[in-house]
Amino acid sequence: MPSMPPMQRISRRTFLGGGLTAAAVTVTGAPLLTACGSSGADTSAANLAVTLPTYKRYAGVAPDLPATDRVLAGFLRYPAHPVRAISEKPGDGKPISFLTNIPGAIPPAAGRNPFWQAVNERLGSPLTISMASNDDYPKKFATQVAGGDLPDLVNIPPTTVELPALLKAKCHDLTRYLSGDAVAKYPFLANIPTEYWKGCVFNGGIYGVPVPRGMSRTSLPLYRVDLLAAKGIKRPAPASFAEFLDLCKEVNDPKRHRWAWTKPPTDYVRQMLGIANNWAQHGGKFTSKYEQEANLEALEATRRMVAAGVVNPDAFSADASARKQWFNGGVAVFDLDSFVAWNQYYATNTAGDAFAVDMLDVPGYSGGQGKPWMGAALNNITAFAKSAKHSVETMLAVANWMAAPFGTEEYLFRKYGLAGRHYTLEGTDPVPTKTGVVETGIGLQYVCDADMALYWAGKPDVAKRQHAIQQTIAPRLLFDDSYGLYSETMSRKYAQLSAVLLDVENQIVQGRRPVSSWKDAVKSFLSQGGEQMRTELAKAHADAARR
């Protein structure tokens, strides 16, 4: 029988106290988060007054393929002598608690996990991590907030409602530690581009450190180079939707259990038509990507693709992991996904050495150039609880350690673990072992992180291809104009209303509803919250403009 965590003594008084607390909450319906009442203090004017941290690129590691403000740095191999960039242990000796989601399997606990133990040793403070799966995390987070049980470092889910009020009530304002040149004390936080810090500003202050993604999450059609080559197609570059559809038909082969697409690429067609990346702003007026007239054309085009049979017929019931299997197994040739997924496909490749992936550019719908969407800037922000028994400086030093970039010894350790146990060196490239994969997945990347580097161990071609497509699309990237502007309605309702529209979209492209029904769905979206979001975003933008 496993050893059980100790049970605290329950007195009659504590038991009754618990019952009364629950009764109070049940009757009043008010969770005991009294300090989190919405104060309305999150004015964009105040937010704009914040001087964001001054960006200072870390010069200790020179990439093989240079970065720009949009294109990520590329490395053909891991530097032979990684720089040890931080000499002092950032921790203060006391345990630091962290609440986070984790994307994979549960790693072994600290007592049985040499990587976790090594992290504790290097931090100089034991790290206790409370984890939940991606799906369960928002519920766990909400319950712990309501119960007043925030850990020292909190991974804040992007969909959290009343976020400014929560941050103001429960978390440290980091402005005086990070604003402007003050960030220079933490060189790897200063190495995070200024754009990412916009998403950390609430209530007129900086309330967290960013976990940046941006370009690495930009999603375009990934394709199997090896499967196209077998059909005699090299470096496909369709110049319009019509050519793109022809390409799909050419590689489609249902008789051999192979389809062009894992799912209907509606968002790709939207990018061909120049539809907004989430929200577009012109002259202070915001327009949702859903309400633009060109959606009807995008839906009709995608419906034609489904009708032509170039999309796997199980696409509408399959989850993402099934679609990844189709791509890896050659059941599908194209998948609309990001640079992160590109690497993951190499991680899970079962097709042998010939397996190769590349990405399509976006043509204009009728010719010319399309407008690719920049990926969401942040994965999450991490805030520091006021209840933490550590100084803000200590917690920032820990975040700084977590943000040491590619090429440093700290990054090598954080992502790959201990040489010999968690990875083996092939040349200078670290190749993870199975143990390494399981033991290193403790969620450190959600405390803080450096920008992604374009790199795949042992395959310099991957970084070259990724860098090349990023250079091609960078000048045409379309940004989400709502980024950095807070809308309460959006945080409450956007995910729910978008899911309804996605359902309508799926029915339309399957031919179960006419394309014209999209207009009614959008009307409903606007009346149930979309208009309110538009108003709030416009107000936030106007406040910003006045500064």
Binding site: M7, L99, A105, A109, K139, A320, S321, A347, T435, G436
Partner: protein, 291 residues
């Protein structure tokens, strides 16, 4: 003549057999698919698009991955502990409560019954329950998986109905022979109630075995997580196993892992059924026909 009328013709028998065969296949084939996919080679799973009915060869990589690192093994131990101890505790408390509620001379019977019925009609909700668990000091304790769900109002009512239907003469005669209430309960009532206790025990056991949500809320330390919650992170997380944002190396495909998880989580509770099957019909009918 009458024999010919009673016995169905062979086409009818064949038809019935076919219908039963189809239903059996509908039940058995998904399970076969689950087991086959869990042991199928990764290339075959990818080529089949996720589900394999007949594996080309048998590979146990998924099970090895699952049990590597000791996380699943430990979680299995915790689940067994919670299920065994929880079921025993629930049965004890529920049977005692139900027996008290079934005794006509018990003065607090009516208000207590109302409390039980109230708990069936109104749920406290997630956050109040969390606050109770926190206030009584059960957070991060494995007992948080047992104590808050120890008594089910429905099961108490079923047990009470059964106890109330026991012949009063037997209990009276035991009392005349000098037996106290506990003696009557232990020596007379419980032995007569094996069928209903088996079924209610099964309900509780399945409930404890399948529970994951309370563990997710109440246990921050993942070393105390039960099997279902650990397995849920493999199945529900829509990402490849073990891949952090930068991706890592080749692993058994997600489908094989997911199916191995299903096998691991189904088999233990499946093994309990044959031992309780003979009590099942009688026990289930108890609540249905007696008020």
């Amino acid at each position: 003549m009458s024999r010919r009328r009673d016995a169905p013709s062979w086409p009818m028998r064949a038809f019935k057999g076919l219908v039963l065969l189809v239903f059996c296949a509908l039940v058995v084939l998904p399970f076969v698919g689950v087991v086959s996919t869990s042991v199928a080679p990764d290339r075959q799973i990818n080529e089949a698009g996720g589900l394999v009915l007949l594996p080309d060869s048998v590979h146990l990589d998924a099970y090895r991955s699952l049990f590597a690192g000791g996380v699943v093994t430990r979680a299995l131990g915790i689940s067994v502990f919670v299920t065994v101890v929880g079921t025993f505790a629930s049965l004890t408390v529920s049977a005692l409560l139900a027996y008290a509620l079934s005794r006509p001379h018990f003065s607090a019977r009516r208000p207590l019954l109302l409390v039980v019925l109230f708990s069936m009609l109104f749920s406290p909700g997630m956050i109040p329950l969390y606050l109770v668990v926190k206030q009584v000091g059960l957070l991060d304790s494995v007992w948080a998986l047992i104590v808050p769900t120890m008594v089910s109002g429905f099961n108490v009512i079923v047990l009470r109905s059964f106890f109330a239907g026991l012949p009063g003469e037997i209990i009276e005669s035991a009392r005349i022979d000098g037996a106290g209430e506990l003696r009557i309960f232990g020596s007379i009532v419980l032995p007569l109630s094996r069928a209903v206790l088996s079924v209610i025990g099964l309900f509780y056991a399945v409930g404890y075995w399948n529970a994951f949500f309370n563990a997710m809320l109440y246990l921050n330390d993942s070393t105390a997580w039960p099997l279902q919650l650990v397995l849920r992170t493999y199945v529900v997380n829509d990402t490849q196993l073990g891949s952090a944002d930068l991706g890592t190396e080749q692993l058994p495909p997600q489908a094989a892992i997911q199916m191995a998880i299903l096998v691991v989580s189904i088999v233990p509770i499946l093994l309990v059924y044959p031992f309780l099957q003979r009590h099942f019909t009688k026990g289930v009918l108890t609540g249905a026909v007696k008020g």
